[in-house]
Chain length 331, copies 4
């Protein structure tokens, strides 16, 4: 449901236009130096500002409610909240009648029998991912040998990402994006067969990020068109390094010590200024809507750090689980 993880557990809470969004992290080892300022670097990567990002301006000030003592994690659950300060619910008022296409308005209403908070997508808002960034920052601290490089490879099919986003914004349109994450320094032997494979755990949490449509590892969908003779990837040294790393750093669900490589497809934001026709569920008529509110032309730009955070959470959890082996007698 709203929690993820076996040993490093993340629980998410809040609504876009309620009083706050936040996160509770259970299982963070004690003694980790930590302060609110440590979250700023990744929060800044998620914050709008560049061309093609929303005008909503939230300070995103993390309030650490619990779990720290004298500047370090104490072993107790870490709760971090972000107050909602720049919510403009009026912008969304019409949408309680007309479910916005491509949003969770309709499905949330079905799931929760109409009791869900619909303002600004409520609990389904991208704003909820602030908590992921916090949990991801801590996770990356735990994975201190690992370096992450995450970037938007393409936006709307173009490699000149910034230009493409600016053009879409200017046109009142939105565009999708392709995000690539590379992580080096991941030790071999992390991951849990059968179900809790590295790919399985990562994709599970990555699909929680609003707008994700696909996840692939290594050579991904291209592998489906390959022959074994071109695909196969011999070991070349005793650390487990392979010649091509087409597996993206994972064999049998377990890290092999090569670079972890994955790509994530983000859809175009559904909210655009250009008018769209859709059903008015109350009248049964097709009507024309256009998104007021403040939106992102290319959500991939701000989502990159969220994807990185999600991956880090999954990896930190698996790394903690792996610590339960071996007992001293086997070492």
């Amino acid at each position: 449901m709203n929690s993820f993880g076996t040993c490093y557990r993340v629980e998410i809470l809040g609504e876009s236009h309620g009083s706050a969004v936040g996160v509770v992290i259970d299982g963070c080892p004690p003694g980790l130096p930590l302060a609110a300022a440590d979250f700023e670097e990744d929060l800044a990567r998620r914050r709008p500002g560049a061309a093609g990002t929303t005008d909503r301006r939230e300070p995103d000030r993390p309030e650490i409610v619990s779990g720290l003592y004298r500047g370090r994690s104490s072993g107790a659950p870490i709760c971090v909240l972000f107050r909602n300060e720049d919510a403009k619910s009026g912008d969304y008022a019409g949408f309680e009648r007309v479910f916005r296409p491509g949003h969770a308005d309709f499905t949330a209403s079905r799931r929760y029998r109409g009791f869900n908070d619909p303002r600004g997508s409520g609990h389904f808002s991208g704003r909820i991912t602030l908590g992921l960034v916090v949990a991801g920052t801590i996770a990356k601290r735990l994975l201190r040998e690992v370096s992450f490089q995450t970037r938007v490879l393409q936006a709307g099919g173009r490699s000149d990402v910034a230009a493409a986003a600016a053009a879409a914004a200017a046109a009142g349109d939105s565009i999708g994006g392709l995000i690539e994450l590379r992580a080096t320094g991941m030790e071999a032997g992390i991951g849990e067969p059968f179900f809790d494979s590295v790919e399985g755990r990562i994709s599970h949490i990555v699909f929680a990020v609003p707008g994700v449509r696909g996840v692939e590892f290594g050579d991904g969908f291209a592998a489906a068109a390959m022959r074994g003779t071109e695909h196969n990837d011999p070991f070349v040294d005793s650390s487990g390094r392979t010649s091509k790393n087409g597996a993206g750093g994972v064999n049998g669900g377990i890290t092999n010590g090569n670079e972890l490589v994955l790509r994530v497809a983000m859809k175009p934001a559904s909210s655009i200024s250009a008018p769209q026709r859709t059903l008015d569920f109350s009248s049964g008529e097709m009507v024309e809507v256009s998104a007021g509110g403040r939106h992102d032309a290319c959500i991939a730009l701000r989502a990159a750090v969220v994807i990185e955070s999600a991956v880090a959470i999954a990896l930190a959890d698996l790394a903690l689980v792996a610590k339960t082996y071996p007992f001293p007698e086997q070492s």
Copy 2:
């Protein structure tokens, strides 16, 4: 680890060349008519036989150990075993020294400090997916309004799938494949925000199937190159039907009642008859290996029903979780 699910829980066990592989299913509602023969249809789809599939011939006879009484599920855990009868461990003897490229030999050895059973990939064998098929058959019974259509769209990049597989087999090579699953009849409102989205839960279990490299929903990776004006998908009737179903049946992680559509990329089987060069970890020298044993030229052919089973397990679990709402007072 080796279990999956919140309310419909599947635990997998066994090794390729041990005494058996099997599955334990907890949480199956009582009263479901069930017999060993009910598993045969899907087991047959998984069984080799067509051109491009392995020569290993296992009868795959399900032995129901527990959980049935008078021909129906009793509410107690259902345990089903498959004895290993046609194991030829000798075929793999050399591979304890030379980790096979693309297999889990190396990573399993790291994860389990060399104590894992390496014969025929041991617990990492594709044979372990027999249990998934059993659990999937039962899951589909629980989802009795849902119809699944699963097929191999392409093999090695070609649409003439059977011909491509036969050609690869004849060449002693292997090819990847692209599997598409479509499920109609899924009611709207199934799925758990934030983390247990339909896509997240499905991809989690699908990546447990050996050889999967990518998963996408609806328009998937193509969405990354789209503009919002071409991507957006208005509602066209009050059941929630949309004009294009580019979301593949899911919004905000919750089913919207449209057809569920997903595609899975399978890599070429790593074991091929053609010789490959790789490292001998004991000598530190590059050596030439070729796969004895009995292998599939196109694992996508037999994996299609396994993918379908995995998806059905994830959906049945979410459907059971959804039953916890609402309490009578809300209805």
Copy 3:
């Protein structure tokens, strides 16, 4: 760890002298009417005031951070915080050197390598049970057919509970207590074999309440001294009513529709004004300590509502799990 439940999940957070304590509840069905005022009745039962309770005066004002919309549960996680306003950390300053006997100071320090927050027991404080009361209030709303009666049967071995508590307080001493809970209206058929029995789930959460030393159901420890001929308890009507209810409402881990009866033993509060001798871990010398701070002479008085809350949480969770049976085809 800090969460409990399968379908109705409760996560606890905070420290006694940090900024707040609180709770996150995931899985509460949507549509339940709910407001901060609804928590007051049970919070008042937990609040000190009677003779034998601490002088710490916290307003215990619940701040609902998320999960409500228009006065009802929305289906999203419900987060409720209580700010710490009357914390006096100075009272505890000496105890960082001398671990208080009977408290978690020593074990928390071992578990968290000295990084835990020791002020007022930190995360181990009885104050953390405020969140249990909130989650229990909601759980009781979900169990709307069930009536709970919880009382302190004995304090310090005496049935004149109030007088015993007052006497202990006057003497600067503390006393243990015996709490009995009775719940009528629980429907038959709730509980999950094998491990998630009603008794198992209840005792699991009840032992989380600081100071609990034992839990028994029905005739409890007395049953150990009985013969079958005196113990056995025939059914007397077709609703499943039995003649003696020695099982306390549970057979085979599943409710039988009779009154649920359980008793909980609470130890005397470890903090007393009277001086005690214990080890100074830094000097290795035995020293004399007496508890400053503000303490309860009989924690059972305020714990009764916490025990009731814990039981309600366990029962509500099991009741939700039970809703996953049956599928329509079996009904």
Copy 4:
């Protein structure tokens, strides 16, 4: 449901008169030397034979289905089955009409809508605890510094346990029993606040054992009648040793390094040869029944090793969870 544990996970399966009972253990660290013969010592303690135990004679031969390789745990799930060979279903035939008092017949029928296997209590049989003994044996291997002493303190209220059991058997009656477990060598710092306390986890699994009515730690229910001045228990050396160990080895849910002490109350077996009056649910009449079948006069005798196994499972799981702390950077 039928599984228990976070990192050392035990899943139980089977029915008394089905084909087998068994267990699947996931998370056992690899490399542990293990063979079927290793289970014999504890199985023998559970096996009937002494006066006051049932005449059912099962060889209880463990069949190791998976998870071992070359005489050691491989890291994959360990599945162990026990075939049912001496089942006499005829003995129970009448009980499908008349639910036996004190058994799970009635509640199982309610929970599973009459689809449960009622023969010999089916999945609710004490026979299901064979799997606990297997999982407990392995757990004790993992806790190699810990010594367990478990004994029946009293049977039917008498300290001459064997004589009391023989007398009850001779009288066609049954008696309850009081079991005490002591474990030395448990390191300090094991246990998870808030919910996964040592007492909470242990009592959770102990109540799964059929016939348990109460669990207490240290001075247990006696503490409820004590004053703080007599109860308090100063530290006497820097290892954390206390003067009285009234807490039974646990403070704040975490082991303190003192001896772990707990007592479990077992009810008299409900099945006795002496006739009992109870309701015939089909006719609505009170009828007289007497237990055919083969029963134990004092289940506490055979349950002692089962309780010990259950406690070991809970402790091993918590010990594995504790290994996730600390990360190297904190040590």
